[in-house]
C-alpha cells in the first residue's frame, strides 16, 4: 500500500506562516522571509480553491441529472422501448 503524501501545498502553507514570525522574534530581515511567506499564502488560497472546485465537481457528478424535457417522438420511443419487453434502458 502507498498512501499519497499530504498535499505539498498544505504542508508549505502551515510552515510559511510560522516562518514569518522569525521576522518578529529573531529580527530576521523580512525581505528574506517574505517570498516564502507569500508562496505559502498563495498556495493556501490555491489549495482551498482546488478543494472547493473538487467538492463542487464531485457533488455534481453524484447528484442525479434532472429529467430532460423530451420531444413527443422521444417520449414515444421511450414508451415503446419500455413497454415492449420491459428492458431497462440506460
Amino acid at each position: 500500500m502507498q498512501i499519497p503524501q499530504m498535499s505539498p501545498t498544505a504542508a508549505v502553507l502551515r510552515v510559511s506562516g510560522l516562518d514569518a514570525t522569525l521576522h518578529e522574534v529573531a529580527g530576521v530581515n523580512w525581505h528574506v522571509l517574505l517570498p516564502y511567506t507569500a508562496l505559502g499564502g498563495g498556495l493556501m488560497v490555491y489549495s482551498q480553491v482546488r478543494l472547493l472546485r473538487g467538492q463542487h465537481v464531485l457533488k455534481r457528478q453524484l447528484v442525479a441529472q434532472p429529467a430532460k424535457k423530451r420531444s413527443r417522438r422521444g417520449r414515444f420511443l421511450l414508451f415503446r422501448l419500455r413497454s415492449d419487453v420491459g428492458v431497462v434502458v440506460n
Partner: protein, 381 residues
Amino acid sequence: MARTSVKATSKRTGKSRTRAAKPRVVALLPAHNEQDIIETTIDTLMDQSYPLEYVLVIADNCTDDTVKIVQRCQKKYGANRLKLTRTVGNKHKKAGALNHGFKRLRSKPEFIFGMDADTILDRNIIKAGIKQFDREPQTGGICSAYRALPLKEDAKHWERFLWRLQNIEFGLANAWRVENYKSARVLPGVSVMFRTQALKDISKLHRGTVWATDSLVEDYRLTLEMKEVGWGVKSSLQMISWSDVPLKIRGKGGLFDQRQRWYSGTVDEIRRKDLRKHTHYETFTISLLALNLIMRALLYGTYGLILLTGGIIQWVSFFLLLPVAAAIIQFSRWVKYADQRDKWQGLMTIFLLPNELYAMFREMVYVYSIWLSYRRPDRAW
C-alpha cells in the same frame, strides 16, 4: 459503457432484443499469514451490496492457519463463491501473489477488485466503483478513500498517539484526493478496482504479468503504467475501506520501515526514465518537501536559540494570521474528511505542533529514502 449485452427474444413480438446485464466483478485477495483478520475480510467481501462473481484468495507462503480458515469459510459460502489458490515458491511478495491470482482467473470479469487481506470494506464499495466506471469509460482504475482500522481497547498511550496522527493524515489525504479529483497520483493496493481491459493492456508491457515484481511499490508502478497505456486513474470518496496502521515506529512493520519502503520505492520509480513524463508532480512534491524541511529546521533552531539565551518569543504578530488561517483550514478538512474523530485529534489538528512534528518525521524519512534509492539500489522488502 460497462454493461454487457445479452440477447434474448421477446415473447410478444418474437423479435430478438438486447438486454443490459450486470458487469461481473472478481475480487483478488492476496494473504500472507493473515489468520487474525482474514475471516472478517472475507465476510465484508461476501456481504457486498453488489454481489461479486467470486472471491479468489491467494494464500502466499502462509505458515499459519490462514488456509484452514479460508477452507472453513468455503463451507460457509460455497467453493464457487470463494475460491482458494496457493503460491508455490513466490519470491515477489504481494506483486507475485497478485500475478499468480490474475493468471488463474477462469471467467472473464469486466472488473477486478484487489485489496489487502488486513482491510475491511464498506458494504457499498463495489457498487460505488461500478457506478463511477459506468460514468467514466476512460477510467482504468479507481482507488478508495482510506481510513484507519479502529484501535483495540487495550492500546497503550503511545499507540493511541501514533494511531491518531495517522488517522488525521488519512483524513487530510482524502481532502487532497478531492483537490486532485481529475487524476489520482497513485492507486494504493489496499483496496482498488480495475477495469480488466486496463490490466490486460498493462500485461502486454511485461510478458503477461501485471504487477511489476522489481518494484518496492508495485501499486505506484501500476498507476504509472496505466497512465502510460492511456487509461485514466481516479479516486473515489464513495468507496471506503479501513486498513491496519503501524502502531510502533521502529522495527519490522513499524512506521519508519513502512514509510522508507514507500518513499524509497517512489524515488526508484521517479528515477526510471521510461515513465518520467508521469512523475513530474511527484518530483515537484519532493522539492517542496525539501524546502519545508529546511525552513522547519531554521524555524525550530531559531526558537530554540532564543529560548536558550533567555529571550522571549513574541507571539503577537501580524504574520501569525497565516498559521491561524492554516490551523482553521486543517481543522475544517479534518472534520469533513476524517472519521473516528475525538477531542485529542481535534486538539492535535488545531494546535498544529504534533502534526508538524509528524510531517517533519515523514520529510526526514523521505530524505533518507532518497539517499537509499541512490546508494542501495538492490534493496528488497
